[in-house]
Amino acid sequence: MTDVLMLSRAQFGLNISFHILFPTITIALGWFLFYFKLRANLSKHPVWMRVYRFWVRIFALTFALGIVSGITMSFQFGSNWPGFMEKVGNIAGPLLGYEVLTAFFLEATFLGIMLFGIHRVPNWLHTLATLVVAIGTTLSAFWILALNSWMHTPQGFEMIDGVAHAVDWNAIIFNPSFPYRLIHVLLASGLTASFLIAGISAYRIKHDDQKKAPSIALRASLYVAAVLIPLQILAGDMHGLNTLEHQPQKVAAMEGVWETKQGAPLLLFAIPDENERENKFEIGIPKGASFILTHEWDGEIKGLNEFIGEHPPVAAVFFSFRLMLGIGVMMLITAWLASSYLLRKKHLPPRVINLCIWMTFSGWMATLAGWYVTEVGRQPYLVSGVLTTEEAVTQIPSGNVALSLALYTLLYSGLLIAYIRTLFLMARRAVEIEEYQADEHPKHKKKLNLDTATGGAA
């Protein structure tokens, strides 16, 4: 029983961690593409189409990885977590259903037109398809986060014979943590895509790409990042306060507060010890946590001692939270430093270019760390106060789960390596192609031989 529980958790964790990498890029990259396409239409300048063309390929690759890794999730609900659907299926089912109906078909169908239809449909329709794809990806985030948030802060239902029944759909969808989580995740996607664009563009520039396209992509993405990062810090803070109100045990684990305390310190570093129920090697700012969370120096923070047996594993939440914050600070420094250079000069110095390359996948790391904080932080519950993870798990032989977990691990590692290598390969190939020509805009209908240089069809 414990075996199959741990294996199923590991497998679901692996699957969802791998999956989230791709939507977190495509949600915002879709909007970036729409922006590039709009600029191309308005300015008629071929460079915007160059930027669009380079990134639409990366979008296609990323989207494909997101789709195939997402399908596995809808199978695992039934195969590994039958208790989830049996107990809260009446709530979870329709939310997932609306995601498929309103978002998946929309994005998948218009993606075909966006990728391959530019010579077959009028330009305005192609631009519209790009917009619809961006709306589709965002809608799918809306529905899945409504469900995820409901699992954190469930409301709008009643239990009849141990099964949840919906009473008020409005309350279910717009549950207390939903608006904060949705904004936090959408901004995270914006930052992930921005730093990806900036990183890959910087990589091209470092490889002596003198063309205009990588420079303007770099500029656009860094400015977006510079605007989004302070908004994200604000949204994260509000999300944290919301969590304090509804899931105080999660905040206690994030801050490493073992005993209820007035004037709790903001721990910069510590090693939480679950057995002794205390922190080792604490370094902290006195009263910092109380001030941030309650806006009073001597505010009271509920400690983990009030939730014994009901709180998440502390170390995982504590370290993930610090990792996320650390990357956030790095993002702030990078985006503002680079933007301040760009505002004053035309080009970035090599050291800042290198910094951007290092930060290419910072969004991924922050997103994963953030998800671990919130999802591990909900344990031991799957649906807060309603269903524990252990109650939901399957009864199938653990050997089967071990086998599937091993296969997924192998496959996903291979795919992740292939994905990252392909991104940089595409960037290096793009370095070699010629600068744009004046008559290159699609309105001219003239097909330039660009495909051979950047990798051919599909």
């Binding site: 195939v68 089912g93 609306y98």
Partner: protein, 332 residues
């Protein structure tokens, strides 16, 4: 007002429709994947180009089907997927390989392209066979004893041939020249394989399920039901006769085999559906025993009635845009 009992019927209808739509739509693109000639890269490019704009949306029907099973019949969903845990895992791995190979093959270094084409072909085969295998176990009422396994393997081969056949018919419409002639030869071969598969699965099905046998032979509906096998037989014969005459002097009628393939899918699916209604798991669980709470089904039905016609509309629109022969796929 829709009664609670009707709700279950409506949802099993939606489920059936999604499964059928998936089998036809992803069936042809999986079939194309399995037919990839490993000795001819130009033809592989052309074949993959013919399905490029559609496969994402085609695969979404699987997500919808699994979604409806999950939403409307959660007990059946968990029972089916727990019993079929390993085959469904293999199927998913097949779909993952096939799906990512689409994009990787076009973007990696030239030397690695063939490797991804192998992944494409293997993934298509793995996914198709496992779907047939799962269908077999499902029809056996989720039994997994030796005979059930044999039947499931037979059904796996049958579905693989069915997908290959519809894939060949698709290529016959969407390609030209040498590849089109190749597609014609594939279509005639896999038509027979498909027909043998239908016959074998039907006979075994009647032999092992007493209830189904009686339903098809001893009820007042028998005469009406007889239309199904007769039509299937007639369509197979017509297709077999028509295929050699195509492409001899002109290109008229090359859409006919694909239309016949779609009709055959409808009939086979219809045959299975009438045999097992109202069971959601053959001989074990009826739709009413497993249906979700009516207030949840009503909530999702409301949206489905508005959204599904829109999905039809823009799906048709997309097929119309990419009507005609497949050309080299290019962004921009």
């Amino acid at each position: 007002m829709i009664t609670d009992a009707n709700l279950a019927t409506i949802f099993v209808g939606l489920l059936g429709f999604s499964v059928l739509a998936y089998a036809i739509l992803d069936g042809f693109d999986l079939g194309v994947g399995m037919l990839l000639p490993m000795d001819n890269q130009g033809q592989r490019d052309e074949m993959i180009a013919s399905i490029g704009p559609f496969w994402d949306a085609n695969e979404t029907w699987l997500v919808l089907a699994i979604g409806i099973l999950l939403i409307a019949f959660p007990k059946a969903h968990s029972l089916v997927l727990q019993t079929l845990y390993l085959p469904s895992t293999f199927m998913l791995i097949g779909l993952i390989l096939r799906g990512v190979a689409f994009d990787f093959r076009a973007k990696v270094a030239q030397g690695r392209k063939t490797m991804w084409d192998y992944a494409f072909k293997t993934g298509s085969f793995l996914a198709s066979f496992m779907q047939g295998y799962m269908l077999g176990i499902y029809v056996m009422g989720l039994e997994t004893h030796f005979y059930a396994q044999c039947f499931a393997i037979l059904s796996g081969i049958g579905v693989t041939c069915a997908y290959t056949f519809i894939g060949a018919c698709w290529l016959l419409m969407k390609t030209s020249a040498e590849l089109q002639l190749k597609a014609k030869a594939w279509a005639s071969f896999y038509l027979i394989a498909f027909a043998v598969g239908i016959a074998a699965v039907s006979i075994v099905n009647l032999a092992i399920h007493q209830r189904v046998l009686e339903f098809w032979t001893k009820t007042p509906y028998s005469f009406v039901l007889a239309i199904i096998p007769i039509t299937v037989f007639a369509l197979v014969v017509i297709c077999k006769l028509v295929l050699p005459k195509l492409l001899q002097t002109h290109t008229d009628g090359i859409w006919l085999p694909f239309v016949i393939a779609v009709a055959l899918f409808w009939l086979c699916f219809g045959g299975l559906a009438v045999s097992y209604y109202p069971f959601v798991i053959p001989d074990k669980l009826t739709i009413w025993e497993t249906a979700s709470a009516p207030e949840s089904l009503r909530f999702i039905l409301m949206g489905a009635l508005i959204v599904i016609p829109c999905i039809f509309a823009y799906t048709l629109f997309s097929y119309r845009i990419f009507w005609g022969k497949a050309t080299k796929l290019e962004y921009y």
